[in-house]
Symmetry: C2
Subunit: 198 residues, 2 copies
């Protein structure tokens, strides 16, 4: 399969790319590189899809949203979270569904905080749950036998260590298996991860 | 109690106001009227809270988001949905939590489509689920013994009739009982409606 990975420079995206390139052709799309995309610009997403023919799968492991309690978040923080983690991934679906090959699959990334409402992260819970609702709805409407899933990953142990949160989390190579499952299985509309039974 | 209702000119908001004013002081806030608020402007929300002292409860029955399948929704539709139904209600909480009286309660409105993913309404499912996540997180962090709930209303039969969707739905006066429950009970972080057991 020919697979585009967005966010392959991140901890999780890099592990997903490594796992998949054993068996598939993996293309790492980023702001700079052979295949370029600026996710903040819908036209750039469309251009990326037009520049690569015969795409079987797209994986998004990108998107930022700020941690922090409700009083610590500014208008800008909310705008960035909605534009970045939420709308950028939705736009990958909106345009990708017109370009992928028959039976292609798009996999987005939500996060385990969707199911662990916590006063320290109201925006992450909001965005991740919202994305899951989008996936569950839109998966029913994919053209050309395409599929749409979301991985709901736990905290990567590499990230926990980098952020100084001490030991904990799951190694990124283990989390990558959820993405491989989305790509290589035939599930559609699935929320894949340790908190889901899919 | 002194209760501000946003969206009291709508079908649902009007029924909620009628139900509550039997026992409480109800203030209808809108763009034009005695108590004015332009929900699209955070500064206007702050000004509303400052203009009314001693608020015990705020109810939001406002916010638009467009129906329609993923291909029918434009960038503008997504922006409007996120700004209107999602961020305007979140801003009512962000600023309200600094102004309500001790033990005050804020009640937002999501919608039954949060739990009925449907390819005709991906944005409504996304926004409603996101709002529920926000409420479940932020309710744990309300100051001064305040509470935060969301009503997840079914379709009002008045709306179904107006939209030409034929008979069906639940009378707005029946749905209003969920809002009364949020205000008069002591629940916090609850998602109240026919699809929730809260």
């Amino acid at each position: 399969m020919k697979i585009i990975i967005i966010g392959a420079t991140g901890t999780l995206g890099a592990a997903v790319a490594s796992s998949l390139e054993k068996e598939h052709e993996v293309i790492r799309a980023s702001r700079k590189g052979n295949v370029q995309v600026d996710l903040s610009n819908p036209a750039s997403i469309q251009a990326m899809y037009q520049s690569v023919q015969g795409i079987d799968a797209v994986i998004s492991a990108a998107g930022e949203a700020k941690f922090g309690s409700i009083d610590s978040l500014t208008n800008e923080d909310f705008n960035l979270g909605l534009k970045s983690k939420l709308m950028r991934q939705i736009n990958l679906v909106r345009y990708g569904r017109k370009h992928l090959k028959k039976g292609g699959v798009i996999t987005l990334t939500t996060g385990i905080l969707a199911h662990n409402p916590n006063p320290q992260v109201p925006m992450l819970t909001m965005i991740n749950l919202g994305l899951e609702g989008f996936v569950e709805s839109s998966a029913q409407d994919m053209p050309n036998h395409m599929r749409l899933n979301a991985v709901c990953p736990p905290m990567a142990s590499e990230t926990a260590e980098k952020m100084g949160w001490g030991p904990g989390g799951v190694p990124a190579t283990e989390i990558a298996k959820y993405y491989v499952q989305s790509v290589e299985s035939n599930v559609n509309g699935a929320l894949i991860g340790p908190t889901h039974s899919d």
